[in-house]
Symmetry: C2
Subunit: 295 residues, 2 copies
């Protein structure tokens, strides 16, 4: 059982993970943090989640000071920090929403045997340590990439959060899937919002249409309201898969448009019916996987 | 003040409207219904909302038997029934989600002076009279088309539902706006769902990715789960505007794809930032219009 954990990056995810570990393991586990942002450090000191919070990585000694280092920083930073983290801890895990770049970094650093690639599918509109909660991951999916030996060692820590652990065959499948279920979905939401604005402008409606939107519009465009910051690095790091997925969405939109333009009621009905059937299958597959529990 | 109302089509919207009128006006108002579906009629008889429920339009007498006829049937049927409804009632209103076809029918029948085109923006996943509620419209937007004299006569009935009444300049603007805020949004949701399935199939993932979807995916694809029935007639009746809006969405998706393909972080950030700004403006315009109250 791990005794000492270093969380590198004490934002929403890193701090929520630390809170969940403290809640489950109490005094059996010491959790330190690394957080460069002074305001975040101040908030963390008051909250008392971490034993110590450093402003940068502590110097590596002759042997690893921690059982686990947790990389909870954006994917480009996490890939950079793999070698330093693996000098500080016996095992290293990350929580990034893309797995290709960090897995490549672990292989390149020769620490693949000690590296666990994971991805908790949880979040909140507000980021930062003040929004952190011990229950953030409870009942949510936490993906782990198969074929990395350190994954079995990390499972007790992930289980402590109450997350539903789901295996992914490879980092490549993970990143392809994320393009379809998250990254392209984000851009579809943004494109729908921008196109609403384009239409209002073309009609000279100047803000009048906003009040005529219902819950469907609100849901489809919700993600467009997120700050751009986090997304740019993630989308660019997965750009081939995301661009391919946008092509699939555009092709489907083109099929709907063609059915409308030719007034083909049968084709339109059949496309809508396919979408409904896929929606039903998705819900059934999801519920089955989530109720069947852990790998 | 109206004393006798005939609701033509006693589904979710028609029956909820009748319930809201009965709740506000009690015995001052008699509400009859027309509902061809025998199961619906049986449900309505038990519920006792309507004084009488006919299986078809009652025969027209020498003078109108009702103050108001309410066309609460799909838009193609409503347009057909305008002449018959205006023989039965002094005033006619409709609650269709498209205004062009019914407004044209009212002009053609020579009853424009007695016709109020309206559109309550309320609904529920479940249809039918059993799902009806007196509070369905409370706090929701009810659009009325300006320039139709009967609209001022219908306002007391609409206000009785607790809806927030919003004017629209013309039936053309209404239908253009609905293409952007509702009809194309529905197809975007369907296209995103179909493209998810296409990607899973291309990767040979066979249902595995379903469990890896989060709240963003669920919200963007939610509308894809609706039955096709109602949508085919509505989308076809508004097909030019909907196809034009799909082109706008595709153009914006193309801009995102180009920024990804060229790895242009600045362009990607600026598109995401525009979407965020439009989202914020939409929310502000909506809240301002809804809090400023009635026309």
């Amino acid at each position: 059982m791990a005794k000492r954990v270093l969380v590198i990056g004490c934002g929403l995810i890193g701090t929520s993970f630390a809170l969940a570990l403290r809640k489950t393991f109490g005094g059996q586990l010491e959790v330190d943090g690394v957080e460069p942002h002074p305001d975040h450090r101040e908030a963390l000191r008051t909250a008392g989640v971490f034993r110590a919070v450093y402003d940068r990585l502590p110097p590596a000694g002759p042997s690893p000071r921690y059982d686990w280092a947790v990389l909870a920083v954006p994917v480009d930073k996490a890939a950079e920090m793999v070698p330093a983290a693996s000098a500080l801890a016996h095992w290293v895990m990350d929580v990034c929403s893309l797995k290709g770049p960090v897995c490549a970094a672990a292989r390149e650093a020769g620490v693949a045997a000690r590296f666990a690639p994971t991805h908790p599918m949880a979040g909140k509109a507000m980021g930062g340590p003040s929004a952190a909660e011990a229950s953030l991951f409870a009942g949510q999916v936490w993906l782990v990439v198969e074929g990395w030996p350190a994954v079995s060692a990390v499972l007790p820590l992930l289980r402590a959060t109450g997350a539903v652990i789901q295996p992914v065959a490879s980092e490549r499948e993970h990143d392809l899937a994320m393009a379809a279920v998250s990254h392209a979905i984000h851009l579809v939401s943004g494109a729908a919002m921008l196109a609403f604005h384009d239409a209002e402008k073309a009609a000279g409606a100047g803000g009048r249409w906003a009040a005529w939107t219902g819950p469907g519009f609100r849901d489809v465009t919700r993600l467009a309201g997120s700050p751009a910051g986090f997304w740019v690095a993630t989308l660019l790091a997965n750009r081939e898969a995301v661009a391919a997925q946008l092509e699939r969405v555009s092709a489907r939109l083109g099929e709907f448009a063609a059915a409308l333009q030719t007034g083909d009621a049968g084709r339109l009905a059949s496309l809508l019916e396919s979408a409904r059937a896929v929606s039903e299958a998705w819900r059934r597959d999801r519920d089955r996987a989530l109720s069947s529990g852990e790998p």
